[in-house]
């Protein structure tokens, strides 16, 4: 469902994430003995890289441009091609829905990213303690990631429903005054989305952090231990600084998750109670497909894309800067 609503965002991220993935794929591999082998070795990365890149560029860039174009036209049910300037942008920006959606996005985005990062890091550190059945725990924590957001949303909708879920259960234990009705409280409903989102994504953050922690060289640990540092100090002063880049990666991935959240809200609260949990993606979908206002929907989609760029551009700038620095320091 979410895919049609935001044809821009998903593929765009796939494309954006690709250079990073491709960089690892293109790492120099051991040279083949025969010459032709080396030749294939050199060609393979290109074969792997270019076709998907071209498809993505065609898809993403052309449809992004098309949507941007539509956003400047008076299109309603079908695309029309008269120019009306920024009228669509003005009316979207002035609408109550958009304002509610953006303030919700700020609350949800901050809550989701910070909590997921914190919880993911905590889980990673705990799992790092050479515990028994580590694989089992890792799988359990990662599992929510394998569940689609729609399922997460539906499950949490029942868990958080005060009449049948957690509140009902705790009251059943005898604590009659217990209240946990955020889902139907319009002030708190947005936080239920944070809860469900954190539950879903923290295992993923954990996996990334764990990989980072494990990649820290053993010598550093030993040196710190010899210097008499306790475990807390070792994590704080040695390990965390070493995995700085992982932090950036986690933050960026989570932020773009947050911005394009659609199905979770749709399944969990449907944007309600009232308009209390409206997010920009829902507004785009609503404008385009429910209200039949393609032009305004496209304008909203373009603004959503711009907010993604706000997240991604600093990251790219940082990545470039780091690369240069590394090149300088050899």
């Amino acid at each position: 469902m979410g895919l049609e609503a935001e044809p821009l965002q998903r593929p765009a991220l796939g494309a954006a994430a690709m250079p990073a993935g491709a960089a690892t794929a293109a790492l120099p591999r051991p040279a083949g003995r025969a010459r032709w082998r080396g030749w294939i070795g050199r060609l393979a990365p290109h074969l792997v890289l270019w076709p998907p890149l071209l498809v993505s560029v065609l898809h993403v860039v052309s449809f992004t441009l098309y949507t941007t174009w539509i956003s400047f036209t008076p299109s309603t049910l079908l695309p029309e091609y008269d120019w009306i300037g920024v009228q669509n942008y003005v009316s979207v920006l002035n609408s109550r829905n958009w304002k509610i959606a953006y303030s919700n996005l700020v609350i949800y985005g901050c809550g989701f990213v910070l909590l997921t990062t914190a919880l993911g890091l905590l889980l990673a550190v705990l799992i790092d303690q050479r515990i028994r059945a580590e694989n089992l725990f890792r799988t359990i924590f990662l599992y929510p990631m394998a569940v689609s957001f729609v399922v997460t949303g539906t499950v949490w909708a029942w868990l958080l429903n005060p009449a049948v879920g957690i509140q009902h259960l705790v009251r059943g234990f005898g604590w009659e005054g217990f209240r946990f009705d955020w889902l139907v409280d319009r002030e708190m409903a947005i936080y239920t989305i944070v809860i469900a989102g954190v539950w879903q994504a923290s295992g993923f953050a954990m996996a990334l952090f764990l990989a980072g922690i494990r990649s820290v060289e053993a010598d550093l640990y030993k040196a710190a231990q010899i210097d008499g540092a306790g475990p807390w100090r070792i994590y704080w002063r040695v390990v965390l600084p070493c995995i700085g880049p992982i932090f950036i990666a986690v933050l960026v991935i989570l932020l773009q998750f947050a911005i394009k959240t659609f199905d979770l809200v749709r399944a969990l609260t449907g944007g309600g109670p009232g308009l209390a949990t409206q997010l920009p993606t829902l507004v785009v979908y609503d404008l385009m497909f429910q209200r039949g206002l393609l032009g305004r929907g496209a304008a909203a989609a373009v603004m959503l894309l711009l907010s993604l760029l706000v997240v991604l551009l600093p990251y790219f700038a940082y990545a470039r800067w780091r690369k240069r620095r590394e090149a300088r320091h050899g």
Binding site: L77, V184, G274, G292
Partner: protein
């Protein structure tokens, strides 16, 4: 459910034998119909399948592509087909969207067929208007539901000693107060957007059908800012206070068992809820059904109707199929078969519903429609996109659903926001 299906089928087949063979008149081409609708399951699916069978028995080729799920999915399919230059011969569409969509692709002029069938005289005038946007019939209504229908749980009514449905909002409020005192949640509610919007339309139509017509259908600014709309918001706030606070964002049908058990007292829902209640295994004795309160004592009918729009086609077999289909949709026998399966009432106001396979609820609603048309108190539903275009309806329902769930908004503020939403969406 199944017995109804079979009954509907038997009725369809029986009337078929007696009916003139329309297909023969179409000449040599075999009539064919391509159709898009969202009806694939439940009673809707059964009804459209039966209609297809009648079409086939009349010698036609039936090509129905259901697009289940949200209405928007179906609209996307329709949009794609129109963009590709290949619209279906007919598709499900309703309300003012018929006029909006007819502007983007050529439609079929059915005025001749409608005249020949004498159909216009038997359709409620406001409803007829929606289906002939430029004075030409391009779409045909299929079935009607009344949205201002009040269901009362028999158990809850017995508990407070009530024997009759309330006739006015004052009676309603007294009864709801009694239920509340008896530990019953007076208003059964789901809490989805259209559900919230419907509560408002039921309140306003009951307070003053004339104000409803002016404010909601004609968007008259003075009426939108007038006392009746304020009274409707006040009544909507009372509803909200009487709902289960633990309910939000769920479909009303989730709570039907609690309603039948008597934990919830009254349900304001369209006539289709009868079918859903029956589907849940409860019977007509479990609830009382009738018109929602109307303060002026005369019947008022808030109308929701499904319809088909006919898209122009060059192929002769499709054109013949459209003619055949149009005549079937307008015919008494198809409307009877269809409504018996879905629990709606027929569009035609000249049908006899005294037969035993009609339910008491259907008879009452049909009577009410006829009288409301006579009294000029038949109005079009806002929450079901009959009164305004989707864009305007959505903007108005935004205000209503927020009002229901945000008790810090006063009725005065609600009224003002509604008028402003109309202004900015226009």
């Amino acid at each position: 459910m199944f017995t109804i299906d079979r009954r509907g089928l038997v009725a369809g087949v029986a009337t078929l034998l007696a009916a003139p063979r329309l297909a023969r008149a179409q000449g040599s081409v075999k009539p064919r119909l391509t159709l898009i609708s969202q009806w694939s399951a439940g009673s809707d699916g059964a009804a459209i399948t039966s209609l297809g069978r009648v079409f086939e028995q009349e010698g036609g080729v039936w090509q129905h592509s259901p697009v289940p799920g949200f209405t928007t999915e179906m609209m996307n399919k329709l949009r794609a087909d129109i963009l590709a230059g290949n619209p279906p011969a007919a598709s499900q569409l309703k309300g003012p969207e018929i006029a909006a969509w007819s502007r983007i692709a050529p439609t079929v002029d059915l005025t001749e067929e409608v005249k020949a069938a004498g159909y216009e005289e038997v359709v409620a005038p406001d409803l007829a208007k929606l289906h002939k946007p430029q004075g030409k019939w391009i779409a045909l209504p299929l079935q009607i539901y009344r949205t201002n229908t009040l269901f009362a749980s028999s158990k809850a009514m017995a508990k407070v000693g009530a024997t009759e449905l309330p006739k006015t909002w004052e009676e309603f409020n007294t009864l709801a107060g009694k239920m509340k005192a008896a530990g019953i949640t007076p208003v059964a509610n789901g809490g989805i957007r259209w559900d919230d919007g419907m509560k408002f339309e039921i309140a306003l139509a009951g307070i003053s059908p004339a104000a409803y017509r002016k404010a909601i259908m004609e968007l008259d600014d003075d009426t939108l800012r007038g006392p009746e709309v304020l009274a409707a918001f006040q009544q909507l706030r009372r509803f909200a206070d009487w709902m289960d606070p633990a309910v939000a964002g769920q479909h009303y049908s989730v709570f039907l068992p609690r309603f039948i058990k008597g934990e919830m007292g009254m349900l304001m829902m369209g006539g289709w809820a009868q079918g859903v209640i029956r589907h849940n295994g409860f019977d007509a004795g479990d609830y009382m059904i009738g018109q929602a309160p109307v303060d002026n004592g005369k019947p008022c009918f808030v109308l929701n109707a499904d319809a088909f729009i006919f898209w122009r086609s060059k192929e002769p077999d499709l054109q013949a199929g459209q003619k055949l289909f149009a005549n079937l949709v307008m015919s008494k026998r198809v409307q009877e078969m269809y409504s018996k399966i879905t629990g709606s009432i027929p569009v035609r106001t000249d049908m006899d519903l005294s037969g035993e396979s009609w339910s008491e609820g259907q008879r009452e609603a049909s009577r009410s429609l006829n009288e409301s048309v006579r009294e000029n108190q038949a109005v079009l539903s806002l929450a079901h996109n009959m009164a305004q275009s989707n864009q305007l309806s959505a903007a108005m329902i935004d205000v209503l659903t927020e009002f229901v769930h945000n008790k810090s908004v006063t009725p005065e503020q609600g009224r003002q926001r509604l008028a402003e939403a109309v202004e900015s969406a226009r």
